[in-house]
Amino acid sequence: MKKFTILMSVAVLALSSGAASAAEKIKIATEGAYAPFNFVADDGSLQGFDVDIAKALCEKMKADCEIVKQEWDGMIPGLLAKKFDAIAASMSITAERKQKIDFSEKYYNTPAVIVARKDAKIAVDANGNPTDEGLKGMKIGVQRSTIHENYARAHFKDSEIVVYDSADNANLDLVNGRIDARMDDILALQEGILKAEGGDDFKVYGKGFVGGELGEGVGIGVRKEDTKLRDEFSKAIQEIRADGTYKKINDKYFNFDAYGD
């Protein structure tokens, strides 16, 4: 028995030292279905704004990073289960998510909008945003467990909210006519619908929505106990903002500053 105990402790020791050396490598998860922020390129690699930002942050932190793909639904459970150490997947900082995980400071903040067919008769307010009444009876597609789902459920009470596992699938159903409108980030909708095949029939309605259920912008998600990692990410975001790296990445994808105010 004693021998066994010694053997076990040696094994545990070996395992834990192995884990320590592996921990220097930071695994960062992204979704790969939310262009232009994150998507799978033709060669199978993960690319996009989130991925470029994550790589730039790692460079500043002098950390060895690996980008891994993770379905949206499993993002927070996967982080908590230590399958990876951080999330760079356009995840907005919300009070709901903060109960489970922690975030770096924001690295971008863009408005959410409604996209629908050009010829859809939707009543709009002074900002051109569709009103609650204007969307009455319509099917609005959102990605499950996003700020957009929360916002749509809270505000468009007379519409049917249809939830999808990914933005790509929701976009496909809008173009195919299964749903009447999509609510999502403006840049994701421009890339996913307006620039895609059949996108000519659609348009963005209004300047968009901010605040409230839509959160405080997008940050890097980390486990609550990893406060050091969180602060390193925040510091690195400041650094790439200051030294122009952020602008370079931003300009590769967008023609305005995605960082927001």
Binding site: S145, D165, D173, G177
Partner: protein, 244 residues
């Protein structure tokens, strides 16, 4: 890891309400319509004429030889790509995820059931058919009075498995936005980030449903086999269908 029992309790109304109802709807409808399709197809499939049996074999081969998920995606995403379909009445059905699921599930279970029935028809003892013919029954009467009732008894254990598999297959309906049991669970998981609690709960619900199906088939089989009367104690148990 702490296990959140209150969360399970609070989720039950949603899971057992719309979630369970939709799961049962999908299972019952696809199995019933599938069986109605499978009876004529199975009879034709058992035909010795290759011009009749081969085309049906191609159908069952395609639907048994490809994953149900791919069939569902082909119907859901594939048909949406064709503009001409959208201008017909078909689109009124294909627009809805529910109908896409029902079509995919029905065609899939019909293919399996056709082959199960074909096997059963071919296993009806030849002597019984000959005897029926010898007393002057027409081909159709033999089919109706002898072959089909016998084949049905033979196929029942295998068919109960097919129904159980179909019940479990309905979980993929959640991938095309339907909020059946798995879909509802995934919505709650997305809100609470508690996959263990929810998946264990719905696993138990599926187990209970499966038990119900097996029990029903056992009763049904006992009813159909009642003419066999008491069996000696060392004979194989009738209720062996669960282990088949």
């Amino acid at each position: 890891m702490s296990f959140d029992f209150p969360l399970i309790w609070n989720s039950l109304p949603d899971l057992l309400g719309r979630g369970l109802v939709l799961t049962i709807q999908l299972t019952v409808l696809s199995v019933l319509v599938g069986l109605c399709l499978a009876v004529p197809l199975g009879i034709l499939r058992a035909s010795r004429n290759p011009w009749i049996s081969k085309p049906i074999y191609i159908y069952t081969y395609v639907f048994r030889g490809t994953p149900l998920l791919i069939q569902l995606f082909l119907i859901y995403y594939g048909f949406g790509q064709f503009r001409w379909i959208k201008s017909t009445f078909l689109w009124d059905f294909l627009r809805e995820g529910f109908w896409c699921c029902l079509i995919a599930f029905t065609l899939n279970t019909a293919a399996y059931t056709t082959e199960i029935l074909r096997g059963a028809i071919q296993n009806v003892p030849h002597g019984e058919v000959e005897a029926a013919r010898a007393i002057g029954m027409s081909r159709f009467t033999v089919l109706r009075r002898i072959i089909l009732p016998q084949a049905f008894r033979i196929m029942l254990p295998a068919y109960s498995n097919e129904v159980v598999l179909m019940l479990q297959a309905t979980s993929i309906a959640s991938l095309v936005t339907l909020l059946e049991l798995t879909g509802v669970a995934r919505v709650i998981i997305a809100r609470t980030f508690a996959p263990y609690e929810l998946f264990i709960t719905i696993a138990l619900i599926y187990l209970a449903l499966t038990y119900g199906i097996i029990w029903l088939f056992k009763k049904w089989e006992q009813h159909l086999m009642r003419h066999l009367g008491e069996r000696p104690a060392d004979a194989p148990q009738e209720g062996a269908l669960a282990t088949r």
